[in-house]
Symmetry: C2
Subunit: 144 residues, 2 copies
DNA sequence: GTGATGAGTTGGTTTTTCCAACGTACTCGG
DNA sequence: CCGAGTACGTTGGAAAAACCAACTCATCAC
């Protein structure tokens, strides 16, 4: 029956943000960088590639390019609502890195939740609100 | 002061799993594929690249290669505990894709939480257990 | 007018990825 | 025994992507 490549939301997401530097650009925007020079400096990515990634993100509606100066035309970059909805992806990656790949002096940046504690994300079930433990999630229909 | 590239857990995580096909291989293992032929068929990735990714994942302790046959030596692949801790990354990517990039006939695979509802992950704060809303997380120290 | 800043472009090199074909070691059917 | 099929890769060469340093263009600060 020679089954095919799996239709998959993970794959679709990776097509959007899976190429090198893309998620670092997004991280940078989450951290508040707006200008090309900041993005270049803080990510360390090649300028031509960063240009390409920003254009691509813009084309997919994750980022907007906003003119902030006329007389040499200058632009800055902002996440759209769609772009901001990448937050859980960035946050879970940060958490993984903090937990398993941190240097000796601990995680390089720390965040705080409004409850007062240091923020570490865990997955919860949207329906019941409970934090998910291993084995609590099962495939519902085995179409693919 | 010519500030440098940002030390960052997101960057470190991406070094581990950020190259093309890697996360699709991991997804496949989460979905239960064990053998090379399954991984190749369901991801659609080039066989040489998949070999490389599996070796790399093994080298970093995310995957183990287990011999399941002697007489031509054959191997299958399993996620380690460390590898399984990539689940939140995969799940949040799936959720993003389901939500924003799904085809007309809805998300291609569905999952169920033990509470009985269809599973959709949201981020919660590990400390207080509350689901996180926009603006509730702030940077704690602006070292980087 | 010299130098700096900001946002890119350009040209050429290096690295990755891709692809189809091949190799090896078996098993199975006839 | 012969040929086909399965499983897990490896190989060689072409194509695409990424990298890098240097350059542009416009303006401002000195």
């Amino acid at each position: 029956m020679m089954t095919q490549v799996r239709e998959c939301s993970v794959a679709r997401t990776l097509e959007l943000v899976g190429s090198k530097w893309t998620l670092l650009v997004v991280r940078e925007l989450f951290l508040g960088s707006r200008r090309f020079e900041e993005i270049a400096r803080f990510t360390g990515g090649p300028r031509d590639i960063l240009t390409d990634r920003l254009r691509r993100l813009e084309a997919h509606g994750l980022v907007t390019r906003v003119q902030y100066e006329q007389r040499p035309p200058r632009f800055e970059y902002h996440l759209t609502d769609l772009g901001r909805s990448l937050a859980p992806i960035i946050e879970t990656m940060r958490e993984f890195g903090d937990r398993h790949l941190a240097g000796e002096d601990g995680p390089p940046a720390r965040f705080e939740h409004s409850c007062g504690a240091e923020f570490h994300p865990v997955l919860a079930c949207k329906a019941c609100g409970e934090v998910v433990r291993r084995g609590e999630v099962q495939i519902a229909d085995a179409t693919t």
